[in-house]
Amino acid sequence: MPKNELNHLNQELDKKNELFEYIQEANELGIWELDIASDKITWTDMVYKIHEVPKDFNPNKAKAIEFYHPDYRPIVLEAITKCSVDGKSYDLVCQLITAKERLIWVRATGKKVGDKLIGSFQDITNIKKSEIRFKSVIEGTNVGTWEWNVQTGETVFNERWAEIVGYTLEELAPVSIETWMKLAHPEDLKESERRLNACFEKETEYYKFETRMKHKDGHWVWVYDSGKVFEWTHDGKPLMMYGTHKDITERKLREEKLRISEEAFRGNFENAAIGMALMDENGKWLKANAKVCEMVGYTQEELFELTFQDMTHPDDLDTDLGLLKELVVGKRDHYQMEKRYFHKDGHIVHILLAVSVVKNKQGNVLYFISQIIDISNEKESQRKLQEAISSLQAILDASKQVSIIATDKEGTVTLFNSGAEKQLGYKTQEVIGKPHPELIHLTEEVERESEELSKKYNKEIKGFETFVYETKIGVSNTKEWTYIRKDGTSFPVLLSVNTIKDHDEIVGYLGVGTDISDLKKVEKEIKSLLDITNEQNERLRNFAHIVSHNLRSHSSGISGIIQLFQMEFPEVSKHELISHLRNGVENLTQTVNDLNEIVKVNLSQSDTAQIGIYEVLQKNIDSLSMQIQQTDIEIINTVEKDLSVKAIPAYLDSIFLNMITNAIKYRSEERASYLKIQANMEKSMVSVSFEDNGQGIDLKKHGDKLFGLYKTFHDHDESRGVGLFITKNQIESMGGKIAVVSEVNVGTVFKITLPK
């Protein structure tokens, strides 16, 4: 080797040595060398410095080992021996006691080089201290740690990591990232991956995730997983990632419970069937659920502008405020009251209010909790019920003339109104609970009715059943009975029996009895009146018989004798006395005939029938055709053919005949005579008018006597004054009327009205 080249090499070596020493210095790295054969040791300055021995200290193997903490001496010795014998290198971290008796941490490495061991020696106390600190932090915070080589998948977990999920590291070995994947909740993996990627893409610095892991026991453990990429590959990929696992199960469970209870409360509050509200200490609405808003008609926003005082009925406010005060001062912890709110519309809302208070630790009111139930319907029902009860009571009380007695199904009296008290003379308390029929009914009467009913329904009906059987089977049951008063006297009643039902089930009976004593009396009177009338009718009948038979018989006898006399003694018959006798008998016969006709009208019991007016008129016109021709009177029948009246055929015939013959008889000789017959419907009646242009009647003079018996108004041979009397009687007996309008020498109109 040329000299300058050697120089150059020497220079280079020096440079290298300088650098090496500098490095040793900078890293506080010492170098040691052991001659295996002689146990002689050579130290660099730094080694001396670490051992805190002076430069003149002469170390050897034994001395060097002596410096180590007794716990480490066997380890160090074994490592050196193994290295010397087998050439196995070592790297130890041990505690060492310096010459100045300081306990320090050192890192010692050794390597066999030929017949020597060469190694480094380094004071790592500071590093170790921070490591211990770090460890104790980790242990103190009870977190599991993990290291992950993102590229290879290699992972390292600490014991705590395994412990969180109930394992030891040994049980989990061999660990890899797969170990985590298996234990993680499948639902969380995706999100975990997303967040990791965010770190890998450097979008976020830290990976943070609350995730679930499967515990060895099978339950899920909540873990707060956090970490950070510490090393990157040269091409920017994540390499090493470190992180921790913190068991947050307890917190999570607490949170969940809280959430559930909060949700439950909120659900309760919002959807409660009753109104719920929070108010501050001044009564201002803080919170109100939908039900409250519905009750009072305000929206939540409107409500929050108000206090409950604004809405409370003034009459209820003092009570409410009084109770609230007691709540505030701690006299009570809740109160309940019925009160009234004003609805937004102005109407009153009845509510049931329950208020409790929530205070803070200092005892100040935080808010009032109100539970509000709308009881308007109940109040209204209550009011209606009260009204119904009142009016029912009023009816019961007012019915002084009517006895109202209610019984149960067996006939025991359950109600006895004031009318019953008055009529029967018992006091309510005397009869309530007593068997009803025995008390106030006639035994014979009940037995008689019982027999009749038993026969009618073909089964035995007796006792109380006698009163209610028909009611029970739905037959209307109103009958006359005799009630017996407390004092033994009796009176007739009309008793209606009805059922009292509760949801379609008969629970009792209600008997409403009307005192019909007066009615009975009147009935009796009417009956006796009827008897009198019947008697009188009978007498009239007898009279009619006398008229129709006896009188006629005698008058006909007389006239027969006179006729015979005239035949036997024609010359004597011409005597004036005889002709008077003959006239007298003729008049008598006629009178008897008339009377007979009149009596017939009143006694006849012929049935009415629907009769066509036109036909009857025409029949009479035909039968009178001879007279009509002779007298040259024009009869104008304009009656419609389908008009009919309800009448007794013989009467109608007689009436029409009378009308037509009257018109003929009393026609005027001074002019061409006519009779106009018309008919009109008038509601339920038909009127038939007979209008003539005859002599007329002076109604001023005769009006009130026109239809009287034996009243004649014409100086006429044939007028006897019976026809109109009978006609009127006949018309009236059929429910009709007759009216007349007349003027002397102009004509007469008779208007007859008969039922349709």
């Binding site: 129709s548 038979h549 006629r552 018989s553 006909s556 006898g557 027969g560 006729q563 015979l564 005939n593």
Partner: protein, 133 residues
Amino acid sequence: MKKIDLACIVEDDPVQLFITRKYIELSGFVEKTLAYKNGKEAYTSLKAMFLNNEKLPQIIFLDLNMPVWDGWKFLDEFTQIPIEQGGAIYILTSSNHEDDIQRAEKYGLKNNYLVKPIDLSQLNGILPKLVTN
């Protein structure tokens, strides 16, 4: 002139009996006239005649209102007698009552209903028919 052999009058009132008998006499159609005071008397006598096979009256004038048996009762009983060729019965009454006329119809005597007093023309309308028969 052929005559009716036997006529019969049932009548309680002597005046009426006299009149009827006189007119029958005056008509000159009748040989002999029997008279009874009431229905019962007439029935008893006529029945006895029937049983004795004597000739019965060809015409009977029957009053309605009579004591003991009235005209109706007589009709009820007399029509029970099984007479082969009975004479005509005429009701002769002072009653022109509708009820009586209707009742007469039930015995088929509506057209044989005469109201007193009877006169000669009425008799002359009835008797000749019986003679020719």
